[in-house]
């Protein structure tokens, strides 16, 4: 892995800004009214099932997560642009994924259209897919490179690695024997889960990605707050919307936790990091942190979020950030007492 420097950080900020611009220009999701997509007869659960199915397809075809994410973005943009009938939904979804693959995957990975359709188990004709392809390209003006939530996970991860090298050993961002993008892979998996939750679609990919990463940072490092404010500022995300998104992501991921392979991954992580003098096992940390978050949230969350908003709107002067760090380090709870830092 390359040694990160200030130049690399600057480059990443340029990259983030370009991605944010693209997102601002192209990000669009269908509006739901009375459980249906506005102007169409497609229900939110039909839509959700379709995205889960696309995830299955994407895995079966060995596409990378970026392709899945781009396919979902194309699907959502189309559904918010045209009035689609439910009977075409699967064909639209499948074609969206094929288009994403044509952009993202090497040609030898894609395979022929006929094979893809056959493997999918659908009975579309190739002509149907091709007609749909033309409609989608036309309606979206051939402008398909949206910045997806997965792109933002990668960018934020790279910013963390290059901008906060001190975190690398403590939270396993590519430490020791774990591959450099180990944490990014985990976050990518979480973001894929969240993309299938229709309540979370209302949030932009950049907001969703940062919410997932922040939830993880809270658990992994006492130093999370300064790191998070730095990312929030760079990503120009509205803090009110961010807080809302983070609450919902937290709730959603916890509802999935039993089915997530994430815990297994933590155990693996602990084995890798143990030689680096980890006092407590990550399982304990995780359990404690999750419990801590659960109980602290009820009583303290208002004050905590007020503090957060306050800090952010005041540009988080270096002094305030510094003292937040100190207080955070004394108390390993995921919700550090922030009030002294603000006042």
């Amino acid at each position: 892995m390359k040694n990160p420097g200030a130049a690399e950080s600057r480059r990443l900020v340029v990259l983030l800004e370009a991605a944010l611009l693209r997102e601002a220009r192209l990000w669009k999701v269908p509006v739901f009214r009375n459980g249906c997509i506005q102007g169409a007869d497609i229900s939110s659960s039909q839509h959700q099932d379709m995205i889960l199915w696309l995830g299955d397809m994407s895995r079966m075809f060995h596409f990378c997560p970026e392709t899945f994410a781009l396919g979902v973005c194309i699907l959502n943009r189309l559904l918010s642009t045209v009035k689609a009938q439910p009977k075409y939904l699967k064909c639209i979804a499948f074609t969206s994924l094929v288009l994403a693959a044509k952009i993202n995957e090497e040609d030898e990975v894609i395979g022929s259209m006929k094979d893809l359709v056959m493997q999918s188990g659908c009975n579309f004709s190739t002509a149907e897919i091709l007609r749909m392809e033309r409609i989608i390209l036309d309606k979206l003006h051939w402008d398909l490179y949206t910045a997806t939530p997965v792109d933002f996970i990668h960018i934020f991860h790279a910013l963390l690695v290059s901008g906060h090298p001190h975190l690398v050993p403590s939270i396993g961002l590519g430490s020791g024997k774990t591959p450099p993008d180990f944490q990014a892979v985990l976050w990518t998996r979480q973001v894929q889960h969240c993309m299938a939750c229709h309540q979370l679609w209302q949030f932009k990919g950049s907001t969703l990605a940062l919410a997932i990463i922040t939830l993880e940072l809270e658990v992994l490092t006492p130093d999370w707050f300064s790191v998070f404010t730095d990312l929030l500022k760079k990503a120009q995300i509205d803090s009110g919307e961010f807080i809302h998104c983070k609450e919902m992501v937290d709730e959603y991921l916890r509802s999935l936790e039993f089915s997530l392979p994430a815990n297994a991954v933590y155990i693996f992580d602990s084995a890798q990091i143990q030689d680096e003098e980890r006092a407590r096992s990550p399982m304990q940390r995780l359990g404690q942190a999750r419990r801590g978050r659960g109980s602290a949230e009820q009583g303290d969350c208002d004050e905590y979020y007020d503090g957060l908003r306050h800090l952010y709107s005041e540009e988080a002067s270096p002094g305030a950030e510094g003292s937040a760090d100190v207080s955070a380090q004394k108390n390993v709870s995921p919700c550090p007492p922030l009030h002294p830092a603000v006042n």
Binding site: R22, C64, E106, M113, K114, W142, D143, V150, A158
Partner: protein, 332 residues
Amino acid sequence: NNAATTLTSYILFTFWAFLLRINGQLVALKVIHMKTEEGVPFTAIREASLLKRLKHANIVVLHDIIHTRESLTFVFEYVQTDLAQYMSQHPGGLHSHNVRIFVFQLLRALSYIHSRRILHRDLKPQNLLISYLGELKMADFGLARAKSVPSQTFSSEVVTLWYRPPDVLLGSTDYSTALDMWGAGCIFVEMLQGKPAFPGDATEFEQLQTIWAVLGVPSEDNWPGVSQLPNYKPGQFTLPASCNDSTLLNQLPYKTEDLVQKMLKAAPADRISAQDSLQHPYFSTLPAPIRHLRDTVSIFKVPGVHLETEVRDVFNPGRRLKPTLLPTAKCW
């Protein structure tokens, strides 16, 4: 200008059905005939959606797309010629001032796409369009791809062999922006000397031999990790001692030589980045404002930036200058 290309089985052929005047503006049409079972070729989708988001003075403008069942027509801005044609019109190496102007624009375009994590992956003189003013415009993004931050593995079968870096020839699929920098370095040398930098024969092995003959055979000392690359076999590359000289690079004026050498490093990690190369002293003779232009502004908007007349011109052999004014040796 109708190079027929058979790229993959998806495309029957692609050609430039040039020159149409739309709203008083000259445009070039690129017509892609489609094999109907596969739909729009991936190269066309990538090119169109990339060009939609790339707005830069040194990247060709895509005005419009006409999509029918049988064919796809891209409407591009019309640019008079390309670097391959320009070099064949002016053989024996280009004017050193013009080389500087072309290389600067090429690196400017690369710096722009690389900052967006996009690799061109198919740089060659045919893909660099040249306007009558001397503006260079990067074209043919069919093999380009948006690249996310952590390095992903790409298939290694992408770059035209002569412009392909040694790491990719040795089977590395973990390449990044340094891939395009090697190609740019090769084109740089080709402009200076009037012939390709590494005109290897058909195979990858022969291409590597051609490169080692100039740069020397790499070892773990000067390229850590080289022996781990898939196609690396120890002892495979033994060159006759007479062959192992770097006369190619030693004939260059100092600053030129320095930049060329930084671009043509065998180990990809050692290659200079596009962004850094724009700051190289080689460009110090160009007016300073060209480094501070907005992306969409051409360097020819800066006063004092213009092309010099090329010394040799196959279309105007009578205009040949007196022999004393020609460069003394066949060097750059």
